[in-house]
């Protein structure tokens, strides 16, 4: 269990949640990054363009 840092809604998470994983908030639709597990901490995910190199 953790709260959305954007809207405060409570999110239920899978047991196998991993650091770095991106989760969508079902309430506000925000993209959240799991920055820690045990206990789970969420932050707003950075906006990243899909771009690539050589």
């Amino acid at each position: 269990m953790a709260n959305c840092p954007e809207c405060g809604a409570e999110l239920s998470l899978h047991d196998d949640v991993e650091t770095g994983e991106i989760i969508d908030c079902g309430t506000c639709g925000g993209e959240l990054e799991v920055v820690a597990t045990g206990p789970v901490e969420l932050e707003t995910a950075p906006e990243l363009e899909e771009d690539w190199g050589e």
Binding site: E18, E21, P46, L48, E50, D51, W52, G53, E54
Partner: protein, 264 residues
């Protein structure tokens, strides 16, 4: 009219035809800039060094290299190191006063860094940090124009230099597009794929040339995968100010001159 020639890094592409063509163009008084990549050679050297090249998939299904610090080091060794030096020497041996530059030199290719990517692994979307890539937003066209005015033929490759001062990976097709746009040049992209086929199974449906974003829209709608990247680069070149873009067969006898003559 300046001509920017993108030569492939792909193994199948023989640069000899392109080198001879550039020599003929320069000899005829044309200003040329050569841009090259070399991603497959980076993978080969990584493997020779006992490292595994890493490719990741983004949420929209695009597969791209993950460039960590070690990969960036090998990238520098292979592209501005081996490939650029050898291509520059080969052009010089053909009478061209070639001068190799990476995007770092004189701040030739600059833009924001991308230090994290969104990847899909085991069905999960994750953020991977430690990526060394960037997006070219600015070209030092003064440097290229001044070298061209002095009679040199710049031979340009990636990395670019990011806003934070780090050399980072950037796509060579898009580097060529950015250079062509900055110089209002004609961009010729040589590849072992002869062009974009309207029907992928019928070589007769080759779309040879696009000179407007509108024409490119039709090309974009049929291009897939590898060619999709070439088409995206072509779009960026035209949007950026390039005069026209031709995707041409690198293995043709006079690949650049035929492309300029409309052969594709």
């Amino acid at each position: 009219m300046t001509v920017v020639v993108k030569v492939g890094g792909a193994r199948a592409v023989n640069p000899a035809g392109a080198v001879a063509d550039v020599a003929a163009l320069v000899d005829g008084g044309e200003d040329c800039v050569v841009v090259h990549g070399g991603s497959t050679a980076v993978d080969e050297t990584l493997e020779e060094l006992g490292d595994e090249p890493e490719y990741v998939e983004t949420p929209s299904g695009v597969v791209g290299r993950f460039t960590d610090e070690r990969t960036m080091e090998v990238f520098e060794m292979v592209l501005p190191g081996k490939l650029n030096t050898d291509l520059t020497a080969q052009l010089r041996a053909n009478g061209v006063d070639a001068l190799g530059l990476s995007g770092v030199d004189g701040g030739l290719l600059t833009g924001p860094r991308k230090s994290a990517v969104k990847v899909v692994e085991d069905g999960k979307t994750k953020i991977r940090r430690g990526e060394h890539s960037g997006k070219i937003e600015s070209v030092n066209d003064d440097l290229l124009e001044s070298l061209l005015a002095d009679g040199y033929t710049p031979v340009v490759t990636v990395p670019m230099v990011a806003d934070d001062g780090t050399p980072v990976n950037a796509d060579a097709d898009r580097a060529a597009a950015a250079v062509a746009g900055a110089l209002d040049a004609t961009l010729i992209v040589l590849t072992d794929v002869p062009g974009v086929l309207d029907d992928p199974d019928d070589p007769e449906t080759l779309i040879e040339r696009a000179t407007t974003p509108q024409e490119l829209e039709r090309v974009e709608s049929v291009a897939e995968g590898f060619m999709g990247k070439k088409v995206m680069a072509a779009t960026e070149a035209l949007d950026g100010g390039a005069a026209s873009v031709v995707v041409a067969d690198a293995n043709a006898e006079n690949p650049i001159r035929s492309a300029l003559d409309g052969g594709g």
